[in-house]
């Protein structure tokens, strides 16, 4: 069965990848932009545009690395037949997409990475057998429930302490934040540059070695300093709110918060899009490989485009509604805290996805908020909500697995 010369299964895989990417877009936008909209730093419309631009650039420029690890790492490819892999990956996309839609519907922050991993483990264990599952990788994922929030929490703690020492504990914090702010711009631009340039921007056929990447990132960092200095000097601290001496500082922090929101969106794009297009790449490679499983499934630009498109549409359709509810609430997370938490989360995600670790944006963000809380920077953190969130992380794996098993037999029956 072919349409326009393309096999039906690729159409199906493409559509399911689009579905999953759409769900990611709806789920993620709130993570990246919620604090900025909540504090009034960005309007909903501009938040959507900014999120779309950065998620898409993240996916297109820095995505494509986690793809292999998740796919190869979770299952023993020796035991997987091409047909099983094909149906399994279709099932994984359908299962993870459905789980995400359900979770977003109920406002639960589940991990897109862990839904896709749970789904792959699910069909692997049932359709092929428990031996096919690389359980040590599953163990790594379970460990990441602890490690990624911990890592990001420690980082948030340090960033907040730093902010306190160089800005908040100064005579003139407003002057200080304008002075130190560009440093953070440098850091964010540098990290983004490094991630993007290091393995070379494959999709643009640009290959750089480490020194070149470092130089390039440094240059990008300097550009960041200029951009940062421009915006930080332009923003007004506004009218002093009576009785709140730090309202002006917070207003300047808004600039930094928006910056880190962009970094989170970029990091998510690079990390999460792989979850949607990884299985797609696997299906395509099975079909084009003449029913022979290649060791690596190449990620082609059109796949990244599907991922990016799905995310942007997800942002624009469902994400918009999520933002509306967030925007109406006044969040207790002030810009300086939102900044520390998002910067820590973004750094953790970027580093982890570079190392091929399947971390989750939501896990790192929760860890980061707790980190700022432990630095006595947040008035009150509801530990019961933390408990519920952790439960939903744990529940993600079995639910995704069960859904994937269902979809696996569904697709096998439909197409096999």
């Amino acid at each position: 069965m072919e349409f326009f010369g393309i096999p039906f299964e690729i159409w199906l895989a493409g559509s399911l990848a689009l579905y999953m990417a759409w769900a990611i877009g709806a789920n993620d936008v709130a993570n990246a932009m919620g604090t900025s909209v909540g504090s009034g730093a960005l309007t909903i419309g501009s938040a959507i545009v900014v999120a779309a631009v950065f998620e898409f650039s993240g996916a297109f420029l820095a995505g494509g690395h986690v793809t292999d690890t998740v796919r190869k790492g979770m299952l023993d490819m020796e035991l997987v037949s091409p047909a099983t892999l094909k149906y399994g990956m279709l099932a994984a996309l359908a299962a993870a997409g459905t789980l995400l839609v359900g979770a977003t519907r109920y406002g639960l922050p589940v991990s897109t990475t862990h839904s896709i991993v749970g789904a792959i483990v699910g069909f692997g264990a049932v359709a092929i057998g428990p031996d096919a599952v690389n359980w040590s990788k599953v163990g790594q994922i379970v460990a990441s429930w602890l490690t990624s929030p911990l890592l990001s929490g420690v980082m948030a703690f340090i960033i907040f302490q730093f902010t306190r020492a160089v800005v908040l504990d100064k005579d003139d914090p407003i002057k200080q934040v304008r002075k130190v702010g560009p440093l953070f711009f440098f850091y964010v631009f540098f990290i983004i540059g490094l991630v993007t340039l290091f393995k070379g921007i494959k999709n643009l056929n640009l290959d750089l070695d480490l020194p070149q990447a470092l130089v390039g990132s440094f240059a990008l960092g300097l550009l960041g300093v200029a951009v940062g200095a421009f915006f930080l000097n332009r923003v007004s601290e506004g009218e002093a709110v009576p009785g709140r001496r730090f309202s002006g500082v917070e207003r300047v922090f808004v600039v930094l918060q928006v910056l880190t929101a962009c970094a989170v969106a970029f990091a998510q794009g690079s990390n999460d899009v792989a979850n949607a297009i990884g299985p797609l790449a696997a299906v395509v490679s099975v079909i084009q490989g003449g029913d022979e499983i290649l060791s690596k499934a190449p990620v082609e630009p059109w796949m990244l485009a599907i991922g990016g498109l799905g995310i942007v549409v997800g942002l624009a359709t469902w994400g918009y509604r999520v933002m509306e509810t967030v925007g109406k609430k006044i969040t207790e997370l002030t810009p300086s805290r939102g900044f520390a938490a998002s910067l820590a989360a973004a750094t953790t995600i970027v580093l982890a996805s570079r190392l091929g670790m399947p971390v989750s944006t939501t896990h790192t963000l929760v860890g980061a908020v707790l980190g700022v809380g432990l630095a006595r920077g947040i008035g009150a953190i509801d530990l019961r909500v933390v408990g519920n969130i952790i439960l939903s992380w744990i529940a993600t794996l079995p639910i995704a697995a069960a859904l994937a098993i269902f979809f696996f037999y569904f697709f096998k029956g439909l197409l096999g």
């Binding site: 709130a30 993570n31 932009m33 919620g34 604090t35 909209v37 909540g38 406002g107 639960l108 922050p109 907040f160 302490q161 902010t163 306190r164 908040l168 504990d169 100064k170 005579d171 009785g243 709140r244 001496r245 730090f246 917070e250 999520v322 509810t325 967030v326 609430k329 969040t331 207790e332 997370l333 002030t334 300086s336 963000l365 929760v366 908020v369 707790l370 809380g373 630095a375 006595r376 920077g377 947040i378 008035g379 009150a380 953190i381 509801d382 530990l383 019961r384 909500v385 933390v386 969130i389």
Partner: protein
């Protein structure tokens, strides 16, 4: 991000400040209450008592609100137990003010002319102590905002020392007022005991304001 809003719960600091404002507003009413007594205007005394009752009730409402929104599952920038203790002292400011107004109204007390000046002086200083306590509690959000930075902590510590100074002034003014009162003992008879009680209570109001500050000092020192 709805979940982050749930995760970052409602901080009790705003309501704590609101409660202190209500309690201090209540204490402010001691001044017109004393004036009403001096002029022997029973109606004005009753009106003042009604106003104090109203403000004390408002403070109570806020207190219950804070208590019911401060479950153990919250991880707070300031410890729950400390917050509740401070809240209790704040509440005592309003409570004792109410006790003063009640007794004055119930016994229909009229302030003897020689006592007017020392009681006025005492009251004004007591209210100043409450205002200083208010200013200190108003710094709670700045303390959290700066993550208890050294600068902010020492700023608040200076304010607390100032409160201590005002409070010891009220002790001296209480001493003066009491001596004046006991000089009138023969004339006032059993009334002396009640007047003594009233004076002690007025001074207590400043004392509770000082305790608010001292409790906070312990909290921010660690």
């Amino acid at each position: 991000m709805a979940w982050i809003d749930k995760l970052v719960g409602r901080s009790p600091i705003g309501p704590m400040q609101e409660h202190m404002r209500a309690a201090v507003a209540c204490a402010h009413q001691i001044i017109p209450l004393v004036e009403a007594m001096v002029s022997g205007d029973r109606e004005a005394v009753q009106a003042q008592r009604a106003e104090i009752d109203r403000l004390e009730h408002a403070a109570d409402e806020i207190k219950h609100e804070i208590r019911s929104h401060l479950p153990r599952r919250l991880m707070l920038a300031m410890e729950r137990r400390d917050m509740l203790e401070i809240l209790d002292y704040q509440d005592s400011i309003a409570d004792v003010t109410q006790d003063i107004a009640e007794l004055i109204d119930q016994r229909g007390m009229q302030l003897p002319e020689p006592l007017a000046e020392p009681v006025r002086n005492l009251t004004v200083r007591v209210v100043a102590a409450c205002d200083q306590g208010q200013r200190i509690i108003d710094e709670l959000d700045e303390l959290v905002e700066t993550g208890f930075s050294e600068r902010e902590v020492s700023r608040v510590e200076v304010m607390i020392s100032e409160l201590g100074r005002i409070e010891s002034e009220t002790d001296e003014l209480l001493d003066t007022a009491c001596r004046k009162l006991f000089a009138l003992e023969d004339e006032l008879g059993i009334g002396t005991v009640y007047w003594h009680q009233i004076l002690l209570w007025i001074a207590d109001v400043a004392d509770f304001s000082e305790r608010v500050g001292n409790r906070l000092r312990l909290l921010i020192a660690n």
